[in-house]
């Protein structure tokens, strides 16, 4: 036996307390006055003995409570060996049904081999069947019903998921602890190298588990696949798209393949491509015209390799009119720099409407992708209400603070207090620079260096709990963001007019404006490509009452009513197109593709497989009985039960003892005698 926390045994020093109370401390009893002891006789033997017995019993119980408590905290354990090997064991039948198992007859072979193992089970053996993909799906409970086990194996169908051997190993490790049986694992898989975890230790097994690996793949299995397609998610106006596809070969010789681009089921163009051995080649389709709205695109290669489902790659594209943006400006603020930068940004995705602040109140903001408020001051009135409502419903607002903002004393919509206008000191450089930049902030990801920008005048704002993306060298915030309802407000504490700063003259200004525009428009959050197993965001605000909708590749609704009303995310499990309408109303067409790691059929080296099995170089060592080492079995549960029982006993005995000691008070005419429990004062009953 050992102790996990032996230092808690210091609590045994508390055992001295009941010893002192019961044995060392003199006991005082409340005497009971009686008219005469004429007819009483001393009964020292029985009474005192009786009391002592209760004393000792109470003492022992209290000592036991303290002892058990100290021992409980010390957390003792015993070493026990695992149960001796018995003929009973649990056989785990795991069939890999990831995408790569679609290759040729891999899955059917795996299923057949699994059925053969089931047929060879001993009469006392129990087995369970699982399907391995990105997670382990339990198909049966431990059972010795061979027919049921075989039926479960036959029910396994190919999936689009990737396989994870780490997940399988984790499941295998947990089984002996939960079933208290030896486990004999059988994995039927193509032993794909890409399914290995990054850390080999994730594949470890414990001593009560044996693993047999049944590979259904051939050493060299060539495969070609469309690895990726690069297409603009959106094209605006009359622009045409440029689509680039990458074709890869895995374990395959050099070959020429024909790559076809199709939109909405209609072949647009076919091009040949020469793919090197175990290499990649790119194909570009230029000037691709797509109709207005969402288009479903597909790039596929011809060929008859045995894994044909990765020969196509889905993508989606949306043709739409340029998003409109509104620029509301103070009379002293010019919109030209911002407009020029926006127009210079790629794809011409935005058209800017410019309105002076005095005329902005009557403008309907709902049709704008985002709004810019440049240097606007106090007295916005209805305009601020409109802006606030617009942002709360999901709109994006970019505020550039100017001199008039100081007069307002606060930032529009967010209400952040503007405390002062700060000019650069007359001595020194007479300007401030950007000292800290958060490159993880999406608008700044492609901006480039900002350190060269000179800021002559900025406004000091109490940002509160806002996300600050950039700070000047005096520590004051330059760029920050606040969420308001479903939307967001991005604030620049300087102007956009080349007066308070020279930002518009720097090359970083155009990508900054484009980044702000795309970020506020929300387009960055909308991805049109995903892989099987990833998640699509359906809603952001917790109290969003609007239902979301997802139509799957089969044209059916993928969400039930409850999920539609409350689910924040949805996991895609098949390749194809998903028509998604999130709670914010911005429709997406998401093209989901197989994880291309499944296309690489390179197998795990035999040495690695041997290490995984347990160190033996034999292809399939017989299942070992297990090398059962000692197991540390904690005893805290038993100690807790014992402590509870002893505590109850102590309470009962102490309560009875207290009742026996409680006596009637003496008469009022006489005072309490400070009588000790001294037997010498007693008189044997006699005549007075």
């Amino acid at each position: 036996m050992g102790l996990f926390a032996p230092w808690f045994l210091a609590g045994l020093a508390a055992l001295g307390l009941p010893v002192w109370i019961h044995l060392l401390r003199q006991h005082k009893q409340t005497p009971k006055f009686f008219s005469s002891l004429m007819f009483f006789e001393r009964r020292t033997q029985s009474s005192v003995k009786h009391r002592r017995l209760k004393h000792y019993l109470l003492l022992c119980l209290r000592l036991a409570v303290l002892f058990l408590l100290a021992l409980l905290f010390a957390n003792p354990f015993i070493e026990r060996t695992a149960p001796a090997a018995s003929s009973r064991k649990l056989v785990l039948i795991a069939v890999d049904h990831s995408f790569s198992m679609r290759y040729g007859e891999h899955l059917e072979q795996a299923k057949q081999q699994a059925i053969d193992i089931v047929s060879k089970l001993g009469s006392g053996d129990r087995a369970e069947v699982v399907a391995l993909g990105s997670r382990v799906d339990l198909l049966t409970q431990p059972s010795n019903d061979r027919n049921a086990l075989k039926a479960a194996v036959r029910s396994i169908t190919p999936s689009d998921a990737t396989s994870s051997y780490a997940e399988f190993a984790r499941y295998l490790r947990a089984l002996p602890r939960s079933t208290h049986m030896q486990v004999e694992g059988h994995l039927f898989s193509d032993m794909q190298k890409s399914s290995l975890p990054s850390s080999f230790s994730d594949l470890r097994l414990d001593d009560q588990t044996s693993l047999t690996l049944h590979s259904v793949a051939e050493p060299r299995e060539p495969n070609w696949a469309v690895e990726t397609v690069s297409s603009p998610p959106r094209i605006y106006g009359t622009r045409k798209a440029r689509i680039q596809a990458t074709v890869a070969s895995y374990g395959a010789p050099a070959a020429r393949r024909y790559v076809t681009l199709a939109l909405n089921g209609r072949t647009v163009e076919t091009k040949p491509v020469d793919i090197p051995e175990n290499g990649r080649a790119q194909v570009t389709f230029n000037d691709i015209d797509a109709p207005y709205g969402f288009s479903r695109g597909e790039v596929r290669i011809d060929g008859n390799d045995l894994l044909s489902d990765d020969d196509r790659f889905y993508f989606s594209m949306e043709r739409t009119d340029p998003a409109r943006a509104l620029f509301i400006h103070d009379a002293r603020q010019t919109p030209e720099y911002f407009r020029s930068a926006l127009e210079a940004a790629s794809d011409a995705a935005f058209a800017l409407d410019v309105v002076p602040v005095a005329q902005a109140a009557g403008v309907s903001l709902s049709r704008y992708a985002f709004v810019v408020a440049s240097g606007i001051g106090p007295g916005l009135g209805a305009l601020e209400n409109s802006l606030t409502s617009y942002v709360r419903k999901g709109g994006g607002l970019f505020v550039a603070l100017g001199p008039a903002s100081l007069a307002a004393g606060r930032v529009p919509v967010t209400g952040d207090r503007v405390s002062e206008s700060r000019y650069a000191a007359p001595e020194g450089d007479r300007y401030r620079n950007v000292a800290q930049t958060d490159r993880s902030y999406p608008p700044l990801a492609q901006t480039g260096p900002l350190e060269a920008v000179k800021f002559y005048q900025t406004l000091r704002v109490d940002t509160g709990d806002a996300r600050v993306a950039a700070r000047l060298n005096d520590g004051s915030p330059l760029l920050y963001e606040k969420r308001v309802g479903e939307g967001r407000v991005v604030v620049l504490t300087s102007t956009l007019d080349n007066i308070s700063n020279d930002f518009p003259l720097h090359a970083s200004f155009v990508p900054f404006v484009e980044g702000i525009a795309r970020y506020l428009e929300g387009g960055e959050a909308r991805s049109n490509v995903a892989t099987v197993g990833s998640y699509i965001e359906l809603r952001t605000a917790k109290d969003q009452a609007v239902a979301a909708e997802v139509i799957g590749p089969d044209g059916q609704r993928a969400l039930d009513l409850k999920q539609a009303a409350s689910a924040p995310i949805y996991q895609v499990d098949r390749a194809g197109f998903y028509d998604v309408r999130p709670a914010n109303g911005r429709r997406q067409l998401v093209a989901v593709n197989i994880d291309r790691r499944e296309s690489d059929l390179t197998q795990i080296p035999e040495e690695t497989l041997a290490l995984w099995r347990g160190g033996s170089l034999r292809p399939n060592p017989s299942p070992a009985a297990g090398n059962h080492g000692p197991e540390l079995y904690p005893l805290w549960k038993y100690l807790l039960i014992a402590l509870f029982a002893v505590s109850v006993a102590e309470s009962v005995v102490a309560n009875r003892f207290t009742l026996a000691s409680r006596e009637a008070p003496p008469p009022a005419a006489r005072s309490e005698l400070p009588v000790e429990a001294e037997r010498e004062k007693a008189t044997v009953g006699g005549v007075r």
């Binding site: 006055f33 008219s35 005469s36 007819f39 006789e41 001393r42 009964r43 020292t44 009588v675 007075r688």
Partner: protein, 296 residues
């Protein structure tokens, strides 16, 4: 009010129709042994009293009956008046109680009721309060204000020292100048033989002695749940006792003591009456007086 404190109206109502009549006086009257010191040999008429069933028909005034068709008894002064001396034990043990009323309080009520009865009967009453000696003495008298004096003395009787019958009874005999009734109200924590040794001389001098043995219910049937340390209220000695002894041997001993007192009293011709403080006084007195009348 002192008068009212120990005179419970409900008790008095119960005993008002009863008489504490000395047997010796009745005998003496019949035998004509006693003479009135004031009137020589003649018997001075005192009053009429309504006849109640059981009264002696020899005292009926037939002349009154002939005139009124109502039966009255003649009562005479002098020989009909008896001397009642009340001895109240005020030792420390009398302060014991297991409920609201101590033995001493109960004895006070009892003594006061008897004093009142004597007063009503125009008998001379007196009081001696004692513990190990005489603490207070009210000479028996039928003068006006005697009852108040007795009740006042009863009021001021506080638990004192140890009980010792010998000393006060020796002193008491000096105060006895006439035969009468001597009522001793005590818890009698003394050997019965010793009690009789001190009391018998009173009998030999022609007094009628009545013993009221006052005990608390806890003294007769004590209850102990566990071992207890008992302290004697008179000696302050302490003793640890066990419930087992209390439930068995103690009860035997107290019963033996009570029985012993009763037997010795019977032998000595002394009236003995056991009363516990949980028993209503009126019921106890009524029972005693009724039984006593029956014996007469």
């Amino acid at each position: 009010m002192v008068l009212q404190r120990f005179l419970n109206p409900s008790v008095l109502a119960e005993i008002s129709g009863l008489e504490l009549v000395a047997k010796t006086v009745v005998d003496g009257f019949i035998a004509g042994l006693h003479k009135s010191p004031d009137f020589g040999f003649s018997q001075e008429f005192a009053e009429y009293r309504m006849y109640t069933p059981g009264d002696d028909l020899r005292h009926v005034d037939w002349n009154v009956y002939g005139r009124t068709d109502r039966i009255y008894l003649k009562r005479f002064r002098g020989e009909t008046n008896t001397l009642l001396t009340l001895l109240l034990d005020a030792s420390a043990s009398m302060a014991f109680t297991s409920h609201q009323i101590t033995k001493l309080d109960y004895a006070r009520y009892l003594t006061a009721s008897l004093a009142y009865l004597a007063h009503q009967q125009r008998d001379a009453g007196g009081l001696i309060v004692f513990d190990d000696d005489i603490r207070n003495y009210i000479r028996p008298s039928s003068r006006q204000g005697q009852l108040h004096r007795i009740l006042h003395a009863i009021e001021h009787a506080e638990p004192g020292a140890r009980t010792d019958f010998a000393k006060p009874f020796i002193h008491f005999q000096q105060f006895l100048f006439r035969r009468g009734i001597v009522v001793v109200v005590s818890d009698f924590y003394e050997q019965p033989k010793k009690v009789m040794e001190t009391i018998e001389p009173l009998r030999f001098r022609g007094n009628e002695v009545v013993l009221f043995h006052v005990l608390d219910p806890e003294e007769v049937r004590p209850k102990l749940k566990g071992p207890a340390l008992l302290v004697d209220m008179e000696t302050e000695d302490a003793m640890e006792v066990s419930p087992d002894y209390v439930n068995h041997e103690y009860r035997e001993k107290i019963d033996q003591h009570i029985e012993g007192l009763r037997d010795e009293s019977n032998k000595a011709g002394v009236d003995y009456f056991l009363v516990t403080t949980d028993r209503p006084l009126d019921a106890a007195l009524r029972e005693y007086l009724t039984v006593r009348q029956g014996r007469m």
